[in-house]
């Protein structure tokens, strides 16, 4: 009898044990270890020469100019990618929402970049963006427009990377927004038509509020994703030219061998920034999101 009662109490914990083991091993422990490392001057060759240095790493982070450059680059990249992707995928989704056969093809086409590896995407775009022989400059010149230096100039490198990321992301987010749009009952639009609402009013007062949960989700997911951007930067520019595209994660990556402690501290800072941003989003925007 007593045994049964113990089992009743223990059972839920036994049930979640497999999942929790994974989470503890691969999430909680690494995060804890990251935080631990951030307080050390860590020696990869000889662990015994590692030294606890308190918050020195953090002091160093906030006093180094290259950290602020990387942070600023990341913020620029994030704003660029999030705003452009949101606006463009919203426009495309509204356009695709009319159910026509042609639209199904466009939708499939626009989603394709998402299933291609970022390495291929980046390489193809590097080729397109080549200033002398690339297709993009060729096209610009055919239309009589001046060519761009794209990735090779510190003033245009960041926008080039943003373009590639937006191009890769747009199909996926369009799909989410199209699904959201199609879940709006048509009778609501009919009611609005009878209420003499203009197209703009319908979009602002009915469509946007009704898809706000999905837009909010996309905003958060994309902000987090953009803050962690690495692969595009690594392949296309290697953080250059002259550090113009060094984002936070790439900055961390640069310190992977010679000062693991400093890199860890930066990782913790990045985590804190993302957490803070998410909290701010929820505080500021959640009142404008209409859950049904």
């Amino acid at each position: 009898m007593d045994k049964k009662r113990i089992w009743e109490a223990v059972r839920p914990y036994v049930m979640i044990l497999p999942a929790m083991t994974g989470i503890v091993l691969f999430v909680l422990y690494p995060v804890a270890y990251l935080i631990k490392l951030s307080f050390y001057k860590y020696n990869l060759m000889n662990k015994d020469k590692s030294k606890f240095i308190g918050t020195d790493n953090y002091t160093q982070i906030f006093s180094r100019e290259d950290f602020y450059t990387a942070l600023l680059n990341t913020v620029v990249y994030t704003i660029g990618v999030v705003v452009l992707t949101l606006v463009l995928s919203l426009i495309i989704a509204v356009w695709l929402n009319k159910r026509k056969r042609f639209n199904a093809i466009v939708q499939a086409g626009i989603f394709t970049p998402h299933i291609i590896s970022i390495v291929s995407v980046a390489l193809v775009w590097m080729w397109l963006m080549e200033p002398n022989h690339g297709l993009l400059n060729f096209l610009l010149k055919t239309f009589g427009l001046p060519g761009s230096t794209w990735l090779q100039n510190s003033s245009t490198a960041m926008i080039s990377i943003i373009i590639v990321s937006v191009w890769q992301n747009i199909g996926y987010y369009t799909l989410i927004i199209v699904a959201a749009l199609q879940s709006i009952p048509p009778s609501i639009y009919e009611a609005a038509a009878l209420d003499n609402a203009s197209k703009f009013q319908v979009f602002r007062k009915i469509t946007l509020p009704l898809i706000s949960p999905q837009l909010f989700f996309i905003l958060i997911i994309m902000t987090i994703g953009s803050f962690k951007v690495f692969d595009t930067v690594k392949i296309m520019t290697g953080g250059g030219p002259n550090g113009a595209t060094t984002t936070l994660v790439y900055y961390i990556y640069e310190f992977r061998t010679n000062s693991i402690g400093y890199a860890s501290a930066t990782g913790v800072v990045l985590m804190a920034i993302i957490a803070l941003l998410t909290v701010v989003y929820f505080r500021v925007l959640s009142k404008k999101v209409h859950y049904q």
Partner: protein
Amino acid sequence: MASIEFVNVTQSFDKNVIIKDLNLKIEDGKFTVLVGPSGCGKTTLLRMIAGLDPQTSGSVLINGKDVTRIPPGQRGVAMVFQNYAIYPTMSVRENIEFGLKNNKVPKDERKRLVESISETVGLAGYLDRKPSTLSGGQRQRIALARAMVKKPSVFLMDEPLSNLDAKLRVQMRIELIEMHKKLGTTFVYVTHDQVEAMSMADTIVLMNQGQIQQEAAPEVIYRQPNNLFAAQFIGVPPMNIAELGIDNVMFGFRPESGVLSTEPLATHFQVPGTIVTREMLGSETIYQVKSEEQAYMIKCTEDRFVVDQEVYLGVEAGNLFFFGADENRIDREDGRFSSYLEALGGRSKVLVMRGQANG
């Protein structure tokens, strides 16, 4: 205030013809109910008035003016949808106000209108609530208020009561009748429920397969149905129909015209039978009487019989209807009427005699 007229209207969706060359005039200020089985085109007609699905050909006139090219919002009509189509992200006030805002009604005027309407429909305390926090009946009232506040010349309603529970439906029915009386505007109401049609309508437009079967006041449709379809669609239970056996003619009578007795009757039509089922509804009882050829539904105000009892079923000559081979009703004035009546009377005598012989 407006009358509505359909002139040679045809509506088809992807080569699927729903309505063909239909003509109909809906009178100004009347409560008109479009009723028929699902798929008969009644909602299609309503949506044509609103301008939501413009007709393929022909024209729709509101107050004598062709509105084919006028967008829904400028036709002076308001519609209550079956699922209410309330804007879920707006508060009750914003829902009611939306149409007024789009029509550039000044703010003070808007506030006054919204408040007086919400008083009328009983939503006064809920103006700043979200529709999702309200009950089905209250949402129905939002939809009504939203339609009323625009002071439309035509009210369109697409099965507005079908999502409510039975009790609330009866209550809303009365409220709608009162509302129509108070506003005096043209109401066009779509339903598949003939009880709703009978109870609320000034004029019933009965439809089947895209065609108007009969257009008349409820009592006329009930007492003088145009054809078999009208006779069987209106009334619960529907009219009893049986074959006469001559010229493919059918005869029929309303369930409440049937008289039941354990003894042979002196009525014009008479048939022996057995009671198969009994439905006790309180004020009345419905029996299913099975004769040799077929079953009849009989509605009695008294509850005197039991299942399996042998009875005689009789109907007076004045309560009998005849329908020709083309399914149209044969009028009492028609020359054939008396001969068919005669034939039925003769057949009854035979049936009763045979019944007595067997008994």
